[in-house]
Symmetry: C2
Subunit: 212 residues, 2 copies
DNA sequence: GTCAATGGCGAATGTGGTTCGCTTTTAATG
DNA sequence: CATTAAAAGCGAACCACATTCGCCATTGAC
């Protein structure tokens, strides 16, 4: 009983947005430019998306899932636990969080500028963290589960931190100390990873008591 | 030979900005509101600051330094290494990064939306990281220096991550899994902290070789 | 073929950072 | 004390952008 949304127009807009976010980041990309690139008027963009931030999530979501899945393949192909962890951390922090095309920066900018009215489901973040946990668990099948989960969570926080600092552009993500620091921590941790958390905590307490 | 900047006007503007950033965050605060609160015109604000982001840094810088110094005092008052580390991590992530008045969110928003033209000196971040390193080193005087530095850096990244997510969550930072995860990692790490990094990395390699 | 829902779009709206000229003040100078 | 000019102070633009409005064109259902 009425005109129907053009699948092609939707694709045009989405692809234009993807291309522009990649080149100029979230803040550097305007609805006008997206519309022009898609061959339509700015106002028409709002027929397909209800806000700029919704476009950003629509573009970022499949990209991140793709990159994480790709990373899983690369990690699984490694033969040693050490290689698996190196590949995981480097892939996550350098290739994805430090992505020079600015896609992760797009997310960070979107998140930082989101208003309360921009309802954002944390489903993507949860999904990502679970995948990271899976990779870590497969690399260290005998690791204490609580520790492995902690590692995954800290990796996620570091992911955000690296992406945020990417905007300061003083240093390339590849040269950043972050990767080395995380790997240092991981490798230091590994040798004690098979013990339960409580025992380690008690041990520290005892160490301290003995030395003071 | 000319009119001189009023110290009082400068203070008015800075205090108004501080109060408004605290209430409404960086993005929710406008130059107009700052000017009105300071009892002057929006354009006159630019006599004292060259941009909005410069105001944000001017307000955030002394606040963060104060909080970090205060935290140092609290950490130094702890008697055991475990207490010192708990106090450090909780203070950093809950009290400062998770600050409910939104000051750290102000910084994150400012950083995320900064343009290349907004020259930002990373001096404050360096200073903070050095202070954190100092606290960690004092808690673990026998720790491997490279590992301690890695810990400090990862803590900084987690700081950014927590602050960023603060904008998304309805939940309190205190309930966040971040603190527990970092402490888990720290305490697990501690028992092996006295060995040099290279030995640990080799050990992991050998572990893997032996188990495969 | 008629109808009405909806796509499409040019124009307008609102907001907010920043800049422009003009006026006023004031510190140095003679 | 009068003169001067640099700089504060400020109202009015300017500009960039996200978003909305109102009108026209299209199209699918009956």
């Amino acid at each position: 009983m009425a005109r129907v949304k053009s699948e092609k127009m939707f694709e045009n807009i989405t692809l234009a947005a993807e291309s522009l976010f990649e080149k100029h980041g979230y803040i550097g990309t305007t609805i006008s430019r997206i519309a022009k690139e898609a061959g339509t008027a700015p106002s028409n963009v709002y027929v397909y998306y209800s806000s700029k931030i919704e476009i950003a999530f629509a573009v970022f979501d499949p990209w991140l899932r793709e990159r994480i899945s790709e990373l899983e393949t690369r990690v699984a192909a490694c033969t040693s636990a050490r290689d698996q962890l190196s590949t995981l951390v480097e892939g996550l922090l350098i290739d994805i969080a430090g992505d020079e095309t600015g896609r992760t920066l797009t997310l960070v900018q979107a998140l930082a500028t989101a208003r309360k009215s921009d309802e954002y489901s944390p489903a993507l973040l949860h999904w990502t963290e679970e995948r990271i946990l899976g990779m870590i668990s497969r690399a260290l099948p005998d690791g204490d589960p609580a520790l492995l989960r902690s590692l995954a969570h800290v990796l996620m926080l570091a992911f955000d931190g690296v992406a945020l600092r990417q905007n300061l552009r003083r240093t390339n993500a590849g040269e950043d100390y972050a990767v080395q620091s995380i790997l240092n921590l991981l490798f230091f941790t590994l040798s004690s990873a098979r013990a339960p958390a409580q025992r380690r905590m008690d041990e520290i307490g005892r160490d301290e008591a003995a030395s003071s």
